[in-house]
Amino acid sequence: MTATTLNGQVDPPQNIKARKGREANKAQGIRRFKWTVLSPFLALMAFILVPALLLQVFFSFFQFSIFDAGDSDSFMAYFEASEFVGLDLFIDVFRDNRFGAAIIRSLLFATGATLGCFVFGFGLALLMYRPFRGQALYYIFFILPMLTVPIVIAYTGEMILYQNGPLNDILSRLSGLRVEAQFLYKKEVALTTIMALEIWNWTPFSFIIMMAGLAALPKEPQEAAKILGASKWRIFWEIQVPLLRPVIMLALILRFLEAMAEFPKTWSLLQGGPGSATETIPVYIFLTTWQYFDISYGAALSYVVLVLMMGIVMAGIYLLRREKKSLDEMYMAKPSEG
């Protein structure tokens, strides 16, 4: 590489030309780099996800069930055995009360779980973000639930909630009565019980995010307010919460989206039962496709859910993008110490 105009001298014309050439080369190099890096990813998308999406479209317009294909194992048999039904399946989906109930259940579950995780997580973080004796030990214990496998939580939860299990024993000892509560197999409480497991599982998520957020808060505004005689309550609501807004939004949005897709605990414990008390969207799709083998109806359902979830996810991403800007500004103002 030849020397350029580091010392601020005026370039002779041929140097300008050379530099322009180099810049063009550089831009081209970056473009090549970009497509080299992206190509395996795009290839995978084209080879796996795109065909799947196309199949999904096909089956949601063509009525098909595994049974129609007979004994044939070949792919083409699926197509031959299916029959064009236009929008019928989608009309069925919109008339399906069971699906409507599943949507409401999922929304209830996700909202309850998100708020539960957030309230406990933020509360604990507020109690813990200033150093005190034992802080590190509590922190380690508090993050354990999210390091366990969801399905392990489900089965361990079942052992604890079992009619002759320790929870009923503890309740019996506290109340002096023989408590035989059925936490899982009663219609009225099943969804709440799963929600409680979800909250136990993911409170650590809100907790660590809020701890990190509180640790990054600038001290000056709070100290200034204190000197001016503001109460703790006012400092919390009028200084800390507004500054924490991006972190709060992040904790809520990410948790809500994950809770909408919750499957391992709901499925492995109750498969949608008792009755249809825990039949959330993922469980309903699963039942339709893998228990009733109604591939086509499952595909139409999935499409509607895909559109619905894309809407929710895009709204979430829109909000995240907005908050990311304020977050970046926050970290810009206070460079991280780690």
Binding site: F33, L144, T156, G298
Partner: protein, 300 residues
């Protein structure tokens, strides 16, 4: 009557320990119960009142889960022959598969993700909008596409195979890999790269020998973080593999449906085995968990 500052502080301190200790019990109890049940003999699994700490501690559950594969086999012939491959319980295979699938998918995701993250961080090869769109791979629930994927997988021979799961785990953990490693790469000063560039190093050499080594600890954290997620994955493993290739969470779920009814002690013993590596890994990277779960948007 007003309290002095010190008194107030003491009251707060007591209140804090009180609340934190209650939560500690809530968090610790299920874990304690899992471990304690794993040492109980079978007559104590369902007894009333429940046994909290058994006096007849036994390793039988662990031994059975990891060595007696035909305990719940319904196939008499298999049982007699003691055939491992046809028995219901195949824990070692599941352990091997879980390690292999989670390990390979995570490694690929981190390698690919960090190079992509470098490109985004230094040359904006993906716009901010595209970066956020990438998140959709994670945020749209996999259940909506899993049926056609399984049909397609069957056609191209990826159903019930290790590569089939690796591909999907790779794709779904990519958003975490790119975003998390980008947050580490963003923090590294660029002087070294410029120096390497001026000395004539190619872009790939700069990446491999300058940038990635600088963020090594961050990439290790990213790797371990994604390993936690892929290791515990349930839905894809349940639907895309089951008979030939099974992973640990699926192996565990078999005990739920076994013909002998519930076998809490065995479940607990296997659960402990699945959980220990994750807790170990998670505590190792506890400082980076917030960054990981928030796609690098929150740092600590």
């Amino acid at each position: 009557m007003s309290m002095t500052m010190t008194q107030k502080r003491n009251v707060f301190s007591v209140f804090r320990y009180f609340v934190l200790t209650i939560w500690l019990l809530i968090v610790a109890f299920p874990i304690f119960w899992m471990v304690s049940t794993s040492f109980k003999p079978d007559r104590e699994w369902f007894s009333w009142p429940p046994v909290y700490i058994t006096e007849n501690a036994t390793l039988q559950n662990y031994l059975t889960v990891w060595t007696d594969f035909n305990e719940y086999s319904t196939n008499e012939e298999t049982k007699e022959l003691g055939q491992y491959t046809q028995s219901l319980q195949r824990p070692w295979e599941a352990l091997g598969n879980s390690t292999l699938i989670a390990g390979i998918a995570t490694l690929l995701a981190v390698l690919f993700g960090s190079v992509l993250a470098y490109g985004v961080s230094r040359h904006q090869i993906l716009s901010e909008k595209r970066m956020f769109q990438l998140l959709m791979l994670r945020m749209v629930p996999p259940i909506v596409l899993i049926a056609p994927i399984s049909l397609w997988y069957r056609q191209i021979g990826l159903l019930d195979s290790i590569p089939g799961l690796v591909i999907l785990y790779f794709l779904t953990s990519l958003p975490y890999a790119v975003w998390m490693s980008k947050s580490f790469i963003d923090e590294v000063p660029r002087e070294m790269e410029h120096a390497a560039e001026i000395l004539g190093a190619s872009r790939w050499r700069t990446i491999w020998e300058v940038v990635l080594p600088l963020v090594r600890s961050g990439l290790v954290a990213t790797f371990l973080f994604i390993l936690i997620l892929t290791w515990s994955e349930y839905l894809l493993a349940l639907l895309l593999s089951k008979t030939d290739v099974l992973t640990l969470p699926i192996e565990l779920s078999k005990y739920q449906g076994s013909t002998e009814g519930r076998v809490y002690g065995r479940q607990a013993a296997l659960s402990v085995g699945i959980t220990i590596p994750l807790v170990f890994v998670g505590l190792l990277i506890r400082k980076h968990l917030a960054r990981g779960f928030s796609f690098g948007m929150v740092r600590r």
